[in-house]
Symmetry: C2
Subunit: 359 residues, 2 copies
């Protein structure tokens, strides 16, 4: 667990990620045991809940921890506070999968389907699907509660926590408000590219990168100049992260992403890929676009047609450029005069992990 | 807002309830404005969210506040901390209504149906029902977040809050765990009377009365002897409250309860009324019982048959006795040597409000 400069930043991130995940995993394992031991649904809950936490990439904890390192030395309390953001993410994933009807999460059966299958196995009355969805919502609620509890009990001082709460509260609220905005956008006719960029900035830009970074730096007591620089960096990397996520949602390899090929197309998500392709399509391609939008179900063949069309409009390449532009601008926002060297190295490695990833 | 002994306890409770509700309502109105102004779903969110809070009975805040008054004088900070429990209850109601498919809440259209109708009015693509359910889940999440935020920002000292968190955390977790337990019980064959009493004690007994009371008393720094007495009182009143709730779910007047007649029968809830009637039924009535359980849909006629059967088994009268027994035992648990007189008067009035109510 060394953090000396002899260890490459990417390896340091891996070690930090393992420490955060161990804290999050240990906390929910203890809570699941406390609340579910001896209950009929207990055996599944005690297995499924910790498994759901395991295998996370811990991106948000990493940004929070690196934010912390901009002002303070390594600390187990800061690791636990950062890990609280992984549980917040578990809350979002468990509930989003119900709302989006997703079947897979990280290559495993989604939580709501695991509980639906268990219901079927018991041979009980009522809808197994309904039961599974309700159970996943309730475990999402528990993750939301446990996140705040882990942060409050992290071992940080009351003064440090007081600086972090406004950022944490904003993040939690924006997460729910942003998910509602996504549902509105998906239900509505295709949004404009500008509207979409705005949602992207407010939701993912804030949630995944900027807020965690500012949260960690605030906990560490960093000053306004440093916070402003981290905010700019975070906003840009966050947007690039989401654009990459959208590309993976259309072009990602199922063996690597753990999700079906073209998942966002199957879900009819109004993602940046689709919206930009619509904006860049010439008249002939607009006609094909309209045809694809009208399809009753999006099967493998339709995914292939969608992908070809998107590539042909030039949207895929353009998104790659937009991601690189943002990543470059983000790195330029790190002022060596205010950001300590070791933190800057970790931020650079984290930006690469977010924007060049294939899962 | 006087609390001198000249004002009858029931009137004091009404005044306290209005103060708690004003704090809860003001807080969510400000949060809804902060997060939803200018959004397409904003107008509805800014109306529906505060409306959902208005009209609450504030039972849980009242127990918390009276717990506080067992050790401390009146305080605006304590009123705000107590009001946090009303927002916690809003979280539970918004999500339970989705899981139970309830159409009415306090005589109004349930939150998920309001958002579903709004979706229909927009003429958007996708399932309006699904959208409404997701929106209600997300507003439930926001209530859960806002509850904790209101408590943390109540103005109580860090030392006071530190004494309250364990009770608050237990309450939040038990709420989600208990709801899951309800779903399991409803899905399963009818539970035994003993199993049901255990669930009832752990879920409603704790959530509505005992935990709020202990939470308030802990915030006020009350000692172990006082807490133990309040715990005993709270457990008994909580059970009586739930038994009364179950009776209202079967026999309540829709004009007063704001719910359809026989709602619990229509929802096929394995409530104490049905379980006790099953246990008390003779052979002939067991046959009719089995017939009613097998019905595809529970219509007005079936509700009438169910009610007659339950009355005939003697279960309705027996539940009335069980409620009175618990209420009497609860009042005997208030030791005048440890509970201050004004708090004891309020507890007595609150117990009556919980166990003799018709809504």
């Amino acid at each position: 667990m060394t953090t000396t400069t002899a260890v490459a930043p990417a390896e340091q991130l891996d070690a930090l990620s393992r420490r955060c995940l161990a804290e999050a995993h240990g906390f929910v394992t203890a809570r699941a045991k406390e609340h579910f031991s001896g209950r009929s649904e207990g055996a599944l809950a005690e297995t499924a809940v910790p498994e759901f936490v395991a295998g996370g990439k811990c991106l948000r904890p990493l940004f929070a921890y690196v934010g912390w390192r901009c002002g303070q030395p390594d600390s187990g309390a800061a690791i636990r506070a950062a890990a609280a953001l992984e549980l917040l993410h578990c809350f979002a994933m468990a509930q989003d999968d119900v709302m989006d009807g997703s079947e897979l999460r990280r290559g495993r059966t989604a939580l709501h389907l695991r509980f639906a299958r268990w219901h079927e196995e018991q041979g009980w009355a009522g809808s197994a699907r309904r039961f599974g969805e309700s159970a996943a919502i309730l475990f999402g609620d528990l993750f939301l509660v446990w996140s705040e509890q882990l942060l409050r009990e992290s071992g940080l001082t009351a003064e440090q926590l007081a600086r972090g709460w406004p950022h944490y509260d904003a993040m939690r609220a924006e997460l729910a408000v942003g998910q509602l905005g996504d549902l509105v956008n998906d239900a509505r006719a295709l949004p404009s590219w500008d509207t979409l960029l705005d949602v992207l900035r407010r939701k993912s830009g804030n949630y995944t990168v900027r807020r965690p970074l500012e949260f960690g730096a605030a906990l560490a007591g960093c000053g306004p100049e440093l916070l402003a620089g981290l905010g700019e960096f975070g906003g840009l990397v966050g947007e690039a992260f989401q654009l990459r996520d959208d590309l993976l949602g259309v072009f990602g390899d199922p063996a690597v992403t753990g999700k079906p090929a073209g998942q966002d197309l199957r879900d009819r998500k109004a993602s940046s890929v689709v919206v930009l392709a619509a904006a860049m399509a010439d008249r002939r391609r607009q006609t094909e676009f309209a045809e694809l939008v009208e399809l009753e179900t999006v099967d493998d063949e339709a995914v292939a047609r969608w992908r070809e069309l998107i590539v042909a409009t030039g949207a895929r390449d353009r998104l790659g450029e937009l991601i690189r532009e943002r990543a470059d601008k983000a790195l330029a926002a790190i002022d060596p005069a205010v950001v300590p060297r070791h933190a800057a190295d970790l931020l650079t490695a984290l930006a690469a992990r977010c924007t060049e990833r294939d899962r």
